[in-house]
Symmetry: C2
Subunit: 282 residues, 2 copies
C-alpha cells in the first residue's frame, strides 16, 4: 500500500519518497539507560552499520556517537511545547526510510517495549510490509537498581516487580490501579513520574501502602551526573524538590537496601588500575 | 570479621583460605537471556578480565567462553536432586575468592536483581567488607518480547508490566497475589512457572482475568532452539505439554501482537549479506 508522506514540516524535509528499494529494514534498538557501556553488544554492532539513526530525546550523545559518522541522525524528540513529530509521523518516517533501501536504527531509551511505544512502530512496519527487528535493552529500572545495590526482587520483601508510567498531561492524574500497586511485598517502579510524585505517594498511601515504605528516586540513571535519593513513601513528594532530569520513582520494601551515597558508576576495580573502561568502537 | 569456610564438600575443595589480599572484588554480572550478543558491553569487558567465574546453571556456554581461558570456572548450579551449593555457601565462596585478591565474575542469567537472589549476595559482600559491583542485564522477559514482536507495555492494552516467579517446591502453590495479577490491561510475566502453568492459569481465571486473554510461552529465550507458543490463558496448561527447558509465561492483552512463527533470532539484514554477527572478543 502507498504510504502517506509525513505531515509535519520537519518530517517532510527529511524524507525523500522515490519508491521502494530492496535491502531496507528498521532495527528498533534499546539504547539502554544512557551509559553507552550498557548497550548490548548486538545493539552496538547494528548501530555501527546504520545508514540513518532516528532517535528519541533521551538517547545520550555518547550512544549516538557509536553510529557511523556519515549516518544521518534524525531527532524525533517530543518537546513539551511543540511536538515536532507525532507518533504517526514517526511511523511514516521509519517506513519511508526503509523503503529507500536504508538500514534504519531506531534508537529508543531503555528497552523499546517498556514505555517506548515500540509496539506501535512494529505494528506500523508490519502493516507496510517493512522488515522490522527488535533488539532489547537494559530498561532504566534495572540499571538504577544495580547501581544502588537494591534488588527489584528479594526474598521476604519483594516477590514481584511492577513497572508503570506516571506520565499524565497537565493537571491530569496518571491512570493507575492504585489498589494493585499498594500491595505490599512488591517493588513498584514508576517511569516519568517525577512531576506527579506527591500525588502518586498520596494515592498509594490512601490505597493502603505503608507510609514508611522505603523509596528511592534516581535521576539521570547511569549517567555521570546520576543522583540518588533514599526516602520513604510519605517523603517522596518533598524529596523530588529540585530534580528536573528524567527520573525513576522506586517504591518497595527492598529499596531499604539502596545505597544512596555510592557514586553513579564506580570505576572498574580490575587489572586496569582503577581506570573506567569506556566504549570506543564496538 | 572472619568468614566461615564453606560447609559443603564441593565448595571446600575450591576455596583456599589464606587470609585477605588486596585488589579482590566481586562483580555481580547480568549474563542476559543466553545469546552472548545480548550481554552488555560492560558485562562483556569485565568478564574478559575475570580471574574466576562463578556461574549459575542457566548461563550459556557461549557466554562462559567470553572469560579468559585461564580463568577458573565454578558452577554453582542448583540441581533438583542435590543442591551442591546452597545460597550461604555461594555467599561464602564469593567472599573467600575476593579475599584472595581475585576479580570474581559472578554470572547470573538475565539480570542479577530480577529473581537472581543477587540482593542476598550483595548484602553478604557488604557485611564482609568485600567490594561488590552490579552490572545489569537484559532480563529474559525483555528478550522474549523483543523476539516475538509483542510489547510488554502498549497503549490501550498494557499500561503496566509485572514480573513474578511461579517457582514453588514440589506440590506447593506459588505464593502469588492472584487478585493483583488478574487486573486487566497489564502484562504479567511469570518466570520459572512452566510446571505450574495450568494451576497459574486456573487461579488467574478464578480471580477474574478473562479466559481469552492472549498468552505467550517462550522456551529457551534467545537461544538457537528458542520456541514460542501463542495461546490463550485458558489454554496455557495444555500448551506447555512437551516443554521442559527454562521458559517464561507471558500473559496479557498485548501478547496478541506476538508472532509465534518468527525465527528465534533473525539474521542481521544489513550490509553483511544476511550473515548473523556473533560475538568473538569484546
Amino acid at each position: 500500500m502507498p504510504i502517506e508522506p509525513p505531515k509535519s514540516k520537519a518530517a517532510k524535509r527529511l524524507v525523500v519518497l522515490d519508491g521502494p528499494r530492496a535491502g531496507g529494514a528498521v532495527w528498533l534498538i534499546g539504547a539502554g539507560p544512557g551509559d553507552p557501556e550498557l548497550l548490548t553488544v548486538k545493539a552496538c554492532r547494528v548501530l555501527a552499520t546504520a545508514d540513518v539513526v532516528v532517535h528519541d530525546g533521551l538517547v545520550s550523545p555518547a550512544v549516538l556517537d557509536l553510529a557511523p559518522a556519515a549516518a544521518r541522525r534524525i531527532s524525533v524528540a517530543k518537546r513539551k511545547a511543540h511536538h515536532s513529530y507525532d507518533q504517526e509521523d514517526i511511523n511514516r518516517l521509519l517506513i519511508a526510510l526503509a523503503r529507500e533501501g536504508l538500514v534504519v536504527a531506531r534508537l529508543k531509551g531503555g528497552d523499546p517495549f517498556v514505555f517506548g511505544r515500540g509496539g506501535e512502530e512494529v505494528a506500523a512496519c508490519r502493516a507496510a510490509g517493512v522488515e522490522c527487528q527488535v533488539i532489547p535493552g537494559v530498561t532504566a529500572a534495572l540499571a538504577a537498581s544495580a547501581a544502588a545495590g537494591a534488588p527489584l526482587t528479594h526474598r521476604g520483601s519483594a516477590q514481584a516487580v511492577t513497572f508503570v508510567t506516571g506520565h499524565a498531561t497537565g493537571d491530569a492524574e496518571p491512570e493507575l490501579d492504585w489498589r494493585t500497586l499498594a500491595t505490599a511485598n512488591q517493588t513498584v517502579v514508576i517511569y516519568m513520574g517525577l512531576s506527579k510524585a506527591a500525588l502518586i505517594a498520596a494515592r498509594l498511601i490512601d490505597a493502603g501502602r505503608a507510609p514508611s515504605t522505603p523509596a528511592l528516586i534516581v535521576e539521570n540513571v547511569s549517567l555521570p551526573h546520576e543522583r540518588r535519593i533514599a526516602t520513604r513513601l510519605d517523603g517522596l513528594g518533598d524529596a523530588t524538590a529540585g530534580l528536573d532530569g528524567p527520573a525513576l520513582l522506586m517504591i518497595g520494601e527492598a529499596m531499604a537496601l539502596a545505597r544512596a551515597d555510592a557514586p553513579p558508576s564506580l570505576p572498574f576495580m580490575g587489572r586496569e588500575g582503577g581506570a573506567a573502561i569506556r566504549v570506543g568502537k564496538c
